[in-house]
């Protein structure tokens, strides 16, 4: 199954999204990587790198991010990965809460990374009301 890393500036947000998504997709490897190393609001490329390694079980990893600056840290994390794994990780330009939930459900079916990514991106068009 594709693994999922949740990169939020807030560790509470990342942890809570994991809780919600895991309810609907309990077998998916979802790793929260929120906040800075010292627990402040921010992101940490090394925490993200570690989370990617944990999330990967051989089928690639989707990274969900909250803001543009989370992308900066996530891309920096990618630079530190082995070339092979890096080819199998992508960052979703998708809403972090909504995207993670639908991506997790999709990943739970054993879908491939590119399809899980597509589903995450598609979350933007799901109406709530």
């Amino acid at each position: 199954m594709v693994g999922i890393v949740i990169v939020s500036h807030s560790s509470k947000v990342a942890d809570g999204i994991k809780d919600i998504a895991q309810q609907m997709a309990k077998d998916v490897n979802i790793i929260a990587a929120g906040g800075t190393a010292d627990g402040e609001i921010g992101t940490d490329a090394f925490k993200i790198q570690e989370a990617i390694l944990k999330a990967n079980t051989g089928n690639g990893v989707l990274i969900m991010v909250d803001l543009g600056s989370a992308v900066l840290s996530a891309e920096t994390a990618l630079e530190f990965l082995d070339e092979e794994l890096r080819q199998n990780v992508c960052i979703a330009d998708a809403p972090i809460v909504e995207g993670t939930i639908v991506a997790a459900v999709q990943a739970s079916t054993g879908a491939m990374l590119k399809d899980v990514l597509k589903t995450a991106i598609g979350a933007c068009t799901l109406r709530k009301i």
């Binding site: 800075t36 190393a37 010292d38 402040e40 609001i41 921010g42 992101t43 940490d44 490329a45 090394f46 803001l67 543009g68 600056s69 900066l72 840290s73 891309e75 920096t76 630079e79």
Partner: protein, 211 residues
């Protein structure tokens, strides 16, 4: 302590001195943490460098600085300056003294790194608006056969002008872009920290009476 380590510590001290100032700038058009982030990063850098062996080349030292900033800054500036310094480390690998040409190559590599990481270009109200004109001025100095110290002085003036320029433009990258037109009139915190670092480097070399 090697001169390049001393130079970095001087830069770090300038950032730490300006912690409140940078944070206040970021309060206007961001999330009020740029000074906090940068000071935290350079405190970690200074701590890290103090434990480093004397015999490390500039490239090694810069890699250490970069990794430390990446792991401790927390804001966008962490991966941006971190990537910049990682890239700048490459031309400095194995070197213990830097000549103007190497510094120019390092600076170019740094800017390329920031642009790649941040997908920004000049005129978007970011650190690039200080760093890029500064490099241009530095390069003019080199072309005109100026000493490294004079080149750095040109760079510092250009960076300061760049900071002033950021007041006149709209932010289209980073958090400040959420403000749209309302970002006009405010000075970019990242451009400001870039200027502070260049100025600190200049002051350091001046105080050494060197280069």
């Amino acid at each position: 302590m090697s001169k390049h380590v001393a130079a970095i510590i001087a830069i770090g001290q300038a950032i730490i001195t300006n912690k409140e100032y940078l944070t206040e700038l970021d309060r206007e058009i961001g999330d009020a943490d740029h000074g906090i982030n940068m000071a935290k990063g350079f405190e970690a850098v200074i701590h890290k460098l103090s434990g480093l062996d004397e015999d490390k080349d500039v490239g090694f030292v810069l890699k250490t600085v970069a990794m430390t900033l990446i792991s401790s800054v927390g804001g966008a500036a962490g991966p941006l300056y971190g990537t910049a310094i990682l890239r700048a480390a490459v031309p400095a690998t194995g070197k213990f003294e830097l000549d103007a040409i190497t510094v120019q190559a390092m600076w170019e590599a740094a800017i390329t790194g920031i642009k790649e990481r941040g997908k920004a270009s000049r005129g978007e109200k970011t650190m690039l608006d200080a760093l890029e004109p500064a490099l241009e001025a530095f390069s003019v100095g080199i072309r005109d056969g100026k000493r490294l110290l004079d080149c750095l002085n040109l760079a510092s003036v250009a960076a300061q002008n760049g900071v002033e320029y950021t007041k006149t433009i709209v932010a289209t990258k980073g958090r400040a872009s959420y403000l749209g037109e309302r970002s006009i009139g405010h000075q970019d915190p990242g451009a400001t920290s870039s200027f502070i670092m260049i100025k600190a480097l200049l002051d350091f070399f001046r105080s050494q009476g060197s280069v």
